[in-house]
């Protein structure tokens, strides 16, 4: 197949895997400033599958769509450095507090704005929530079939794509017509490194929000090289109903957040001395825990 149009859904997330002691504030809320913002790992797997399709199908274009604050344009640049063609940041204060249902509503509207397309592809889940809901919910809102937990794209034939899925107890190979939504499992190939050529080309790509924070004059540059514009879309741009966004559009509410406090048990402290270890093993043997 030649010239597919692929939309990659990606999210910039706090790196919850490397949480330090300063990650929580004294009041029990998350100190986002202390956590580095990264490209959600499985979205990178999704980008890689999209890039592989592009490698094998000249003329394919990859558009990255992300929803978040203005600085989320960082991950669009990261995607461009690896071979994505362009990207959009869906950003608006009215999105704040959106749960997966409201988020998928907004993303689905943005995807529709980019239609026609062949494939919408995203990571299975984001590490700040681990819900794995947004991909299937976007698919439902678009009225499209979904293939979740993709590990490998096996082939294209006419308008049909064949994909290997990673399930908890094995693998499954399925074929589906396009357009469709695919979510990608972490067992899929890792994303390639930045490409020097693209890094130079897109180094100065900026969104409007980012331009406001810089004294450099990008406007002329962007006029001369339109590919350096990272477009931002607001609620109005995607034609969303505000009632279906943010807190009002989110059926799930957080009733309570507890900072993690470990309930103490009666505990015995041992050293690594031979005596301590031998006593412990004897005790475990005596009370039939082992042996």
């Amino acid at each position: 197949m030649k010239g597919l149009k692929i939309i990659v859904l990606a999210k910039q997330v706090p790196d919850t895997r490397n949480v330090g002691r300063d990650a929580m504030k004294a009041d029990g809320t998350v100190n986002r400033a202390a956590l580095p913002a990264i490209f959600n790992p499985e979205d990178l797997n999704a980008l890689e599958l999209a890039l592989r399709i592009k490698d094998n199908n000249p003329g394919t274009t990859i558009t990255v769509l992300t929803m978040g604050p203005g600085r989320a344009a960082e991950i669009i640049r990261e995607a461009m450095y690896r071979g994505a063609d362009k990207g959009y940041v869906i950003t608006d204060r009215k999105f704040a507090g959106s749960d997966t249902l409201a988020t998928s509503y907004a993303l689905a509207l943005a995807v529709k704005k980019l239609a026609p397309f062949h494939i919408v592809i995203a990571g299975r889940q984001a590490i700040d929530g681990d819900t794995a809901q947004v991909g299937p919910q976007v698919a439902e809102k678009l009225g499209l079939p979904q293939i979740t937990y993709a590990e490998e794209i096996l082939s294209f034939r006419k308008e049909e794509i064949t994909v290997k899925r990673r399930l908890e107890r094995g693998v499954e190979t399925v074929s589906a017509p396009m357009p469709l939504v695919i979510t990608v499992h972490s067992s899929a190939p890792e994303c390639r490194a930045r490409h020097a050529k693209y890094t130079i080309k897109y180094k100065r790509a900026r969104s409007l929000s980012e331009l406001q924070d810089t004294s450099e004059d990008y406007l002329q540059l962007q006029k001369d090289r339109p590919y350096l514009v990272i477009q931002e879309w607001s609620v109005d741009d995607i034609g969303a109903d505000v009632e279906q966004l943010g807190l009002s559009g989110s059926p799930t509410k957080v009733r309570k957040i507890e900072n993690v406090v470990f309930a103490g048990r009666e505990s015995r402290l041992l050293s690594s001395s031979d005596d301590d270890i031998e006593d412990l093993m004897k005790e475990l043997i005596t009370n039939h825990t082992v042996g």
């Binding site: 439902e140 079939p145 979904q146 979740t148 094995g170 074929s175 509410k253 470990f262 048990r265 825990t289």
Partner: protein, 339 residues
């Protein structure tokens, strides 16, 4: 109307473990709410399925028996479950947090515009007062789960939308038979009522459903390692200890992400939940996500060079020191005292 529904998964003609666990929890919640427990089963050749489900306390079982419904496919299953939910208007819907449940439940939530909470580690019933409006809600489902990398525990509610949907991983809830003689009503569902030809656009070409090679869930002794083990090589020590004690080796998510151990051995909220009689945590700091998967262990030993590691607070024994020194000693003194 307003009952609790459990979507039951089928594996080789049997109800999946996770579904029986959810039925057990569902029965408990139904008693609390004084409503009925209903099961939904979609598949092929389901003649004996009612008998498997009833002892777990289902009052009504909706069965859609059609050869097109096995193996699971997203579109036909979501069309039927959505159809049943629209007619029956459950107050709560429970799904396994499995490859199937996590594929299906979000589609249902999106179609019904209702809330869904993934990977709950506890489900409770309680009231809620909205802060701003002072509006009172009674008997909501508290959907409790670790969030944000396990640094917080969030209680999620769906005050205004129904059904309240949740997914729960296998092993989190306890499987408890209500009574072998419990009888429920079987309602045969005509799938044709909801299915369209377009629901079958995806074709399954091949499946290898491998039974789990490693079974840490049923191991009586688990030697588990975290990021603090340091390397894949050091993990060999854990295998040595597990081999001597007759146990299995597991790891935390950090150890899996670090490439020290395979995902199928991961304990925790996004892995397997275990309840061994002995859990030896080596170099595991003890994030709540990990704890959620092992804190029911009968005896917990923590080996850590950090006296302040959170896991030490739930450990029965804490050994402070270098695990490369401690584990060989444990092997040595175990062998010495069992001979």
């Amino acid at each position: 109307m307003h009952n609790i529904f459990v979507y039951c998964e089928i594996e080789d003609g049997q109800i999946a473990e996770v579904s029986l666990e959810l039925l057990s929890k569902g029965r408990f919640l139904a008693n609390r709410l004084k409503c009925k427990l209903e099961a939904v089963v979609l598949g092929d050749k389901l003649d004996n399925i009612g008998k498997q489900i009833m002892p777990y306390g289902a009052d009504v079982i909706h069965i859609a028996d059609d050869k097109r419904l096995y193996p699971y496919m997203t579109l036909p299953h979501s069309a039927i479950v959505k159809g049943i939910f629209e007619e029956e208007k459950p107050q709560i819907g429970l799904f396994g947090a499995t490859s199937i449940g996590r594929d299906l439940a979000p589609r249902i939530a999106s179609a019904l515009k209702c809330g869904l909470t993934a990977d709950c580690t506890a489900l409770e019933i309680g009231n809620h007062t909205e802060n701003k409006t002072k509006k009172e809600y009674r008997d909501l489902l508290y959907q409790i789960r670790p969030a944000f990398g396990g640094n917080i525990i969030a209680t999620i509610i769906n005050p205004d939308t129904r059904p309240q949907l949740a997914t729960v991983r296998e092993g989190v809830m306890k499987k408890e038979m209500l009574s072998p003689d419990h009888k429920g009503v079987v309602k045969n569902v005509d799938p044709g009522k909801w299915l369209k030809d377009e629901d079958f656009v995806i074709r399954i070409i091949e499946r290898h459903i491998e039974s789990r090679k490693v079974n840490i869930k049923n191991a009586g002794i688990i030697v588990s390692g975290g990021y603090g083990v340091g390397s894949r090589e050091n993990f060999q020590l854990l295998y040595d200890l597990a081999g001597v004690l007759g146990g299995e080796v597991a790891g935390s998510r950090a150890a899996v992400d670090g490439g020290f151990i395979d995902h199928e051995r991961q304990v925790g909220q996004t892995g397997v939940t275990v309840r061994p009689k002995l859990y030896i945590a080596c170099g595991i700091s003890g994030q709540i996500q990990h704890r959620a998967g092992m804190d029911q262990s009968a005896i917990i030993i923590s080996i850590n060079n950090d006296p302040d590691a959170p896991i030490n607070q739930i450990a029965d024994y804490t050994i402070i020191g270098d695990l490369t020194e401690i584990i060989p000693k444990m092997i040595k003194y175990y062998q010495k005292n069992t001979k």
